[in-house]
Symmetry: C2
Subunit: 239 residues, 2 copies
């Protein structure tokens, strides 16, 4: 019977040390991959020193709008008892990335699914933020427009207070600096706000402070790296 493996991918070749040994062992045994982007997947497989010639591996791209080719590949693999690996461009497949649809199909087909341990910027950001990890919610992207973003942030602040829940979201890199500015304008003094960038990379950093402290020492400009943002206004917030 096939197993569908979910394989986290590091953000760059210089972060291969974040992959646990058993992930590489599984990777080396696979010759069929369904991936977010074939070019990135080939680079990763080469950097991970997959023992087979990369050109001999079956690598099929997922298309979020048209699942047919990836589904066909998965169904053929299941029919022949072949194992398959799913990989996104970086991070964990299915977490703020494509892949979940195929995992659902695998469960419906009754095959084994195994997610492997690896880097997730959302999880690392939450751990590193010092905000509560007892309850949390990830929202994906908020509004890209300044005024609506302010409203979104105040709404999440209310939810955080009512549910005692850390709120996590992401934004495209070129809007990161705007998110910080709007957060400092919109959130209340005792609300914690934080961001993490380049996690597991050379410029890795996570910053997290109450808004009143940010206002005294504003953060350095965020630059154009992807960022994870967090806010918390729950019972256990330090003041």
């Amino acid at each position: 019977m096939s197993t569908l493996y979910l394989i986290p991918v590091p953000i760059s070749e210089s972060a291969m040390h974040t992959l646990p040994p058993y992930l590489l062992e599984v990777l080396y045994q696979l010759d069929c991959f369904i991936v977010e982007r074939a070019k990135t997947a080939r680079h990763f497989l080469k950097a991970a020193q997959h023992p087979s010639p990369i050109s001999s591996l079956e690598i099929v791209e997922m298309d979020e709008k048209d699942h047919r080719e990836a589904e066909k590949c998965l169904k053929l693999a299941i029919a022949s008892g072949r194992d398959v690996g799913i990989m996104s461009e970086a991070g964990c497949p299915g977490i703020a990335d494509p892949g979940a649809h195929l995992v659902g199909l695998a469960h419906l087909a009754g095959i084994r699914v195994q997610a492997l341990v690896g880097p997730s910027s959302l999880l690392l950001a939450l751990m590193g933020s010092g905000m509560s990890g007892q309850k949390f919610a990830f929202h994906g992207y908020l509004s890209p427009k300044r005024i609506e973003l302010g409203k979104d942030l105040r709404r999440l602040e209310q939810v955080s207070m009512q549910q005692d829940q850390t709120q996590i979201f992401i934004e495209t890199p070129y809007r990161s600096q705007m998110v910080v500015e709007v957060a400092l304008e919109s959130l209340q003094a005792d609300t914690w706000f934080g961001y993490a960038q380049d996690l597991t990379g050379a410029a890795e950093h996570v910053r997290s402070l109450p808004i009143k402290t940010w206002k005294k020492t504003p953060p350095e400009p965020l630059g154009k790296a992807p960022a994870v943002f967090l806010l918390f206004r729950g019972k256990q917030a330090l003041t």
Copy 2:
């Protein structure tokens, strides 16, 4: 300047292969740890082959109700520029586990915080469930009582539909079987329900199906291992 490292710990000594090499490199350089339970931490440090005699390491327990000793340890370390590692009993410190309070203090003190990649049952369960990872919420524990649990599950089902958000929760092992029973009674036919147990362990498994499918082929009794539960009734749910 000190760095505060957040160090994930595997669920057992037989899951050491889930730790990435750079985590061990960091671990070997540390001689001061603030931990959920000293006994477990010593076992882990021994299994991880920490180069120093375990008795020579400073290991201070966190007490969720009384933070004073752990805070004192962290403040002394910061004052002397010493690095500190935080470890919970298993999994990621601060995620459904203690540790976040100390991370908040570290940010207030302006020292560097770095979360390391390692096993998280919540993240593995979400990846493996095939439910949406574009938006999700973790709620900790729901009600331990049967009738209230049914209400909680129906409420989360509503939230999942309204927010297009996967709902994740945990329960103490001896109530796992009840959660499955109540979910099958309470949730609607097209809602996906899943559970994961012993992730990264020898009996690792994740099962995830629509309620109508579960009703035709009910799950095997869950046994007394800790479980992560998930439900999803969003737009992208397979039917």
